[in-house]
Amino acid sequence: MRLHKKGLSTLTKLVREEPALWMGHPLKRKEDRRLLTGLGKFVDDIKLPGMAYAAILRSPYAHARILGIDVSKAERLEGVVCTLVGEEVAKLTDPFLQISSPPANKLKDYCLAVGKVHFAGEPVAAVVAETRSTAEDALELIDAEYEAVDHVLDAKEALKPGAPVIHEEVGSNVVFRGKWDYGDINAAMKQADKVVKKTLHFHRFSSTPIENNAVLAQYDKATGFLNVYSNNQMPMFCIPWVSFALKFPSNRIRMVTGDVGGGFGTKIISYPYIVLISLLAMRSGRPVKWIETRTEHLSAANHGNERMFEVEIPVKNDGTILGLKVKAWDDCGAYTRYEPAGATIWAQVTPGCYRFKNFQMEFLQVMTSKCPVGPNRGYSRMQHLWMIERSVDIVARELGLDPTEVRLKNFIRPEEMPYVTPSGGVYDGGNYPESLSRVLKLIDYWRWRKEQVEERKKGRLIGIGISTILDSGTNNFGQVKITNPENPFSGNSEGARISIDGLGGIQVALGTSPQGQGHETFASQVVADEFGVSPDQVTVLMGFDSAVNPYSHQSGAYASRCAVMGTGALLGAAKKVKEKAAKIAAHVLKADPESIEFKEGHAVDRDSGRKIPLWQIGNIAWVNNVLLPEGMEPGLVAIHFWRPDFGLPDEKWRLNQTLTYSYQSHAAVIEMDPETGKFKILKYAIVDDCGKQINPMIVEGQVHGAAAHGIGAAMYENFEYDEDGQLKSSTLVDYLVPTALEVPDLVTESMETPSLFAPKGIKGVGEGGGTPISAIANAVEDALTPYGVEISDSHQNPQRIYELIVKKRKKM
């Protein structure tokens, strides 16, 4: 890993104290053999005896009253096991928990629409049949009658008096309205040489993992257990939703995940489907499998938050940004499945990487007749960071300065770390100016700037865009108390169990439920270092099983938390096991437990040099237990739950919302075809810093993936609705996921500034904050400098760019 080594900063070298053997090593992943040979275990690969298949009928209307659903013809079809409609669901279940405050929390959400449909694609009925095809055949036989009512597709429209109300029980379409106000924005406005104003729009897209949502539910009458096999990303976090809706005891719900084909946040809010399929399993008495189709996924799983901004930026002529005043409208679609979390999570990164202290944000979250939103790689921060990074470039353009100059002028300096932001965030170390200067070097910024001028003379339009953003990780759930102080969540926690069995085998179980991030590998590396063994000697359980793995109800893979939280939990468990193992070893070796260390598969007495193999300690602990020290409990296993030191929001909503603040600088060079509005990326470079790296190969892979998502969002992926509220991009024909021909080669380099607060100096990585969305928007605007075109949308659709050019040409 040459790049990785190059990326080591001086600071890191100074603090790199103990010689870690496996941490920092680009170890080949332990998961890969099964995945490469077709032996991965995804939900759809599981077959249970007597299993039947479910299919879901969905609303063709964006907003309509359900007049009646007749399933009799479907039920008569040979091979159909049972059906379920919304009216029955309303009797069998309670509405889902809501995390908003009144009146938005009056919203009634069920796993099938009850009385009314609220977006095109909403489930209205379900069928269970012997085969997938028969279930789909049966859907065609259901007669559903609707009466369309007015719908609303735009957040600002949805606020107007007389606008259709999506949920009557709420009384309006507002989910949340809040004002963050720090420093003195009015004074900043007065001080300013200029106030830059802009209206911006962040579009809808989603991470679209290649594996769609999947649920297999089995109600075991004998044990009274509900066994749920799914690819949910936070299986234990969704337990309250499942348990309360089904009125089913939580201690008899078993949640299992195996290999998961990507998540990126989109698999967090699949609880309505878990409840639906569980109901069907209970009704049919059979294990029931449901595999979401791609069309279902795109139209009804969840989209990323769409957001509109009105921005005012007071600046000095030298490029100093004095503050930021923003009004934001967040469109969360028809339900609040994980909202209004998104209405606060952006505040993790309130000022971005910049030093301004005056900040005011009025934030409105609004419901519309569109697919509900949910977490999506860079959840809620990327919209905000895009707005900030776009604003910085707009400031540079309006002041006639180079965008890098404005950034360098306003960046928080490394010597100011740890840096407390106006909103109470505590940045845990980093060197933003260095990150930027490295990426400029990597892409050869100044050469491109020269070339740009030369090429422009020849009619060739080159654009260079840069962006430096924060990639906050390990969230403090205290942030959701901002939208509803009654919410019973705060902090974060994760569990791990380590055991050394009677034959010396080390087994590890974690609460994190991975979707491709390589948890088996990183956990092996961390534990191997603790016990002085090779990662091969450590077995980490794959997936997650609530009957087997230790967990907290905050367990899961989301918010870039796994490496940090998992390591915290692993270190705690290892400490407990080591302490006990040391006592046993000391007892056998007649040594002081304090002088026992673990090396090369042995417990070694530092003083005498005598040693005892791990297997022998395990043997004594579990089997040969007469040899145990007097009074010691047999067994060599420990569970540890780790939590970072988090607080609660104060009266001004100041709060450190995450533990770690990784950051990345991106630079894109594009070439624009002004005749068509289409452009291509000529070069793309990234410098990331996620603190100390456990496995630099995995880190680099996460950086690549996050960048590809951002590039896809910036250039290809867009959920667009027609005037009737029908999603135009509900298949991969129109929802354009980039292929290998669209994603350019990504040149990467990394820095390693250890976190000042997280275990081992690790920081979360993987979301990338949607950086390419701003880097590319900035590059497009830069390329179009001769036309003076302004980019105010996050999606760079060729037609729109073309139209902007045409409009300017007419004026020229």
């Binding site: 490469l36 040979t37 290649i210 189709t293 491709g516 190969m697 690549h704 292929t739 080669d745």
Partner: protein, 171 residues
Amino acid sequence: MKLAKLTQKDDLVQIRCKVNGDAYTGTVEPRTLLVYFLRDVLNLTGTHVGCDTGHCGACTVIMDGKTVKSCMVLAVQAEGASILTVEGLAKGENLHPIQEAFWENHGLQCGYCTPGMLMSSLFLLQRNPNPTDEEIRRGIDGNLCRCTGYVNIVKSIKAAAKKMRGVEVTA
């Protein structure tokens, strides 16, 4: 003229084909997609389904020497065909050089697109043992990946090409 046996919508059709070298005979509904025949009937669950329209490529297998999307082929169309799936790549414990290269170069993360990606890589390298980056990217343009940004996949295929040409790979 004698017509092929007239079948009805509900009739099952017999098919014979070879999968990973083994001969199979079975009956299927005409509408059964090849991917479900492989997954549900033959229990070869390495071949995945990721979309409805033949865009994601997770279901890619090699049929009579060429990559096809097995969700866009009816099982009955595979009558008499010879099919290679991801399960047929490794020889016992020995991984195929392409599998090795993906492993060494972190060419996979969640692993869901990987089986299809491997099949496309094999087809590409059989045709073109020494592809350029551009040729590699074109060769896998029918396989979507959401985890890797394709960077390490391209790298893996390059490394696999070297291995398959017998050139030693230096780290």
